[in-house]
Symmetry: C2
Subunit: 473 residues, 2 copies
């Protein structure tokens, strides 16, 4: 399904490695098609992906070239985290990010908040309202511990798009993806156990490890291809790892989609070392490419992958509706879900089920994906314009968040303090590392429509960075 | 505040111990008032409580007597659970209870489901609907990790009624009382730790201990005065107990309200042995007496009590809104709440805050309390009529659930199997014990209006019990 991604990855590596230089003409579509035994359209898709990544530019009637002076900033470096399991810290910094009030005067460039102002969400609100007016008041009752049947049916259908064949009975609806991740981890691990994570990695999932007394082993992660399988294998060889926890699709915070071949290879590793895989797919439906990428879960044959997701990024986080497809760990996860929250709230489940069933989800996704893709390009443009030279930026393939890397000695904690008075906040990089690395990085949200207010906020961040850099000099 | 409860307890004990015999005249109101230095109305309240418990009967112009033949069934015996910490079992039986579909053809006499059909809930549904129509769609956003400010303000005000002075900043809103209990336990205990619990005890809280790898030490519990302080002290002396977990107000499943003096004494014990107290107050607002009973938390001076509650029993469980006042454990509980579910759903919090703020809560409570009190009397009447002689029944002082004790060798698991075809289910007693005791007991819900359908369901249970007893003979 994603032959083109593999091809793009190969060409991209050659360009990055200088095999093709700026200004060089790239091989023709026909030549690549013959060389790799793939269709012309596969090559064209690969080129479009390279274009998205700023690695190739088309010239009418002449084919593709390496951009002479690549306008876009360079990619972030591959992280080099500590190669040993560590206790996770940074809770105070996470708390600072999440306890920020919903203050309309502060532009939160750091939060994982989607745009919920789209008119394509109206039918969802109508459905919520309708349930409140229903004379039987179904929203007031305890739900089935597994979740509402109608919603699980819809989720099972949805998961076909990522190549997953699970039925409703294999799903547990949860209070957001948080509970899915938390119940999964508790179903598999005991305090003191080691979990391998991508690095940088979603801070929420890492705080769960911290809260439950587990240790994280951060694996170096490439900003285009994802978690390093070589480093992962070495870690599996060396440490008694219980589970691998990662976000392979539209990764948070880097935005890459892990190539399919690497997903399969990761699963093979998990099988060989008999570890569970906790796959966070919460941004998967927001992939800019169509069809949406497959999940590792879709290749799972022995139920070792626990797929965790939610509607928090695709619809709205305030509803707190997520799910987990826990494979062979179903009974344990169900127990953990029960002790965590009893059952999941009934009304939002019913409303989402109705929204999906009536066919409103796909049009909404299409709209948001294209808004977010434009938002990405706009944000790269602004960063290029307003941030100091040398700033590195990831090329998200989906979702609405971007990873920005500044000079090695820059401290984003100081940046956020400087921005406090100016009504802007970003997510500091250190919360994405178990050991507090990435202090020179930050995560930026581009979900909001690119208004002049947002541009102004980004400009303020850029100015503050420049000022702090001057002070350091 | 509850002098009369202490007096009633003292008189009740004398009656139960045979100091006053059936047919005996009890001391006059005036005499008791002088003897105990309390007002006449306090003595009258005490007598009304004894009347409710079937221990005293008024004769016009002659005062109170011990009922000649007490019509009501005897009280359940005090449990004699194993006096050592045990790993908790019975998850399969709990699962059977909670995974029961919301099948309108099955009368669920076992579930902890309040009556949500009261017209006094209408304003809540209207508030839910209104938020859906709000053009800013506030219900779609992530909430503050602590919970919506407006709701915390209302909860802080509400808690004054139970003698608690906490402010909104000391509260964390949770996804039902389940999350409050679960976050509290995780904030205090590690796997392997011992928690003392009342016995019988709420199965949900015990499954939380099980899921987190803790051990429960069941303390004998009196069906009128609650957990035995003598047994508790012995246990604290003997074992390294980390926390005491109990439901002192309108206990689930026994229905007693622990006398105030005993609440204070328990807190003193907790202080002396330096253990935390996890107080489940989820039924406290449904006390049949006014003013509602105080919580142990209301006497807490050093922040060792974590008060857990929710609107699941007073308003509606499907909303999944609870809270915790975690005292000195606030930061830890907040972290546990974050890793459990991120934040709590926004819309139901806003709706409940509006419902409370507009003054709809108290009238709703008054209505439900009186409905449930009538339901209790009706249920005792039905059980007296339809259950075999010798059946023992608790005298709930609030809430909507009753504990029923059958002959020692009776097995309620067999009862539920026999009832499956008949469209009735009860909660088997063994799930209320860490070690699977109370197999001869069951919990019955009397929240529904006492229709002939419910009566018929209770009759079916009685007939099935009688039949099973005959088979055993």
């Amino acid at each position: 399904m994603t032959l083109y991604v593999n091809l793009a990855e190969l060409l991209g590596a050659r360009i990055e490695n200088g095999f093709y230089r700026p200004g060089d003409r790239l091989p023709s579509v026909r030549a690549l098609s013959m060389e790799h035994g793939v269709s012309l359209s596969t090559v064209q898709q690969a080129y479009r992906l390279l274009e998205d990544n700023g690695l190739a530019a088309p010239k009418p009637k002449s084919g593709y070239f390496v951009p002479a002076s690549r306008k876009a900033p360079a990619l972030p470096a591959v992280g080099r985290p500590a190669q040993r399991p560590v206790d996770i810290s940074q809770w105070d910094q996470v708390l600072e990010l999440i306890r920020a009030k919903l203050d309309i005067n502060v532009i939160q460039l750091g939060r994982g908040m989607p745009d919920v102002s789209s008119p394509t969400l109206r039918p969802l609100l109508r459905a919520l309202g309708k349930i409140s007016r229903h004379h039987d008041m179904p929203g007031l009752y305890y739900d089935n511990i597994y979740g509402t049947q109608a919603l699980r049916d819809q989720i099972a259908r949805l998961m076909l798009d990522s190549g997953c064949r699970v039925n409703a009975a294999e799903l547990v609806v949860t209070t957001g993806c948080h509970e899915a991740l938390s119940a999964s981890i508790r179903a598999i691990c005991d305090p003191g156990d080691i979990v391998a994570v991508d690095s940088p990695s979603f801070f929420g999932a890492m705080q769960t490890l911290k809260g439950l007394g587990m240790k994280a082993l951060e694996i170096p992660t490439d900003p285009i291809t994802g978690i390093s399988l070589e480093a992962l294998e070495l870690a599996l060889e060396q440490w008694p790892i219980k589970a691998i926890q990662l976000t392979p699709n539209c990764n948070n915070p880097l935005g890459y989609i892990m190539p399919e071949a690497r997903k399969k290879a990761l699963l093979t590793l998990a099988q060989r070392y008999d570890v569970a895989v906790i796959e966070d797919d919460v941004y998967g439906d927001l992939s800019y490419t169509y069809p949406r990428p497959r999940t590792i879960k879709s290749f799972d044959v022995d139920g070792r992958v626990l797929l965790c997701s939610s509607f928090s990024k695709t619809l709205a986080p305030g509803l707190r509706i997520g799910w987990v497809a826990p494979g062979r760990y179903l009974e344990r996860v169900l127990h953990m879900k029960y002790i965590g929250t009893g059952s999941t709230a009934t009304q939002p489940q019913m409303a989402i089920a109705e929204f999906l069933q009536a066919g409103h989800y796909k049009p909404h996704l299409r709209r948001m994906r294209s808004q977010y893709q434009r938002g990405r390009d706009q944000m790269i443009d602004w960063i290029t314009r307003y941030f100091p030279a040398g700033t590195r930026v990831s090329r998200p393939q989906g979702g609405f968040m971007m990873w920005v890397e500044l000079a090695d000695d820059f401290d984003t904690l100081r940046l956020n303090r400087a921005l406090l008075d100016q009504g802007v906040q970003v997510a500091v990089g250190s919360i994405f590392s178990a050991s507090g690395k990435y202090r020179n990085c930050l995560r930026m949200n581009y979900s909001a429509k690119p208004t002049s207010e947002v541009e102004n906020a980004v400009r303020k961040v850029g100015v503050a960075i420049s000022e702090l850099m001057t002070q350091t000099d």
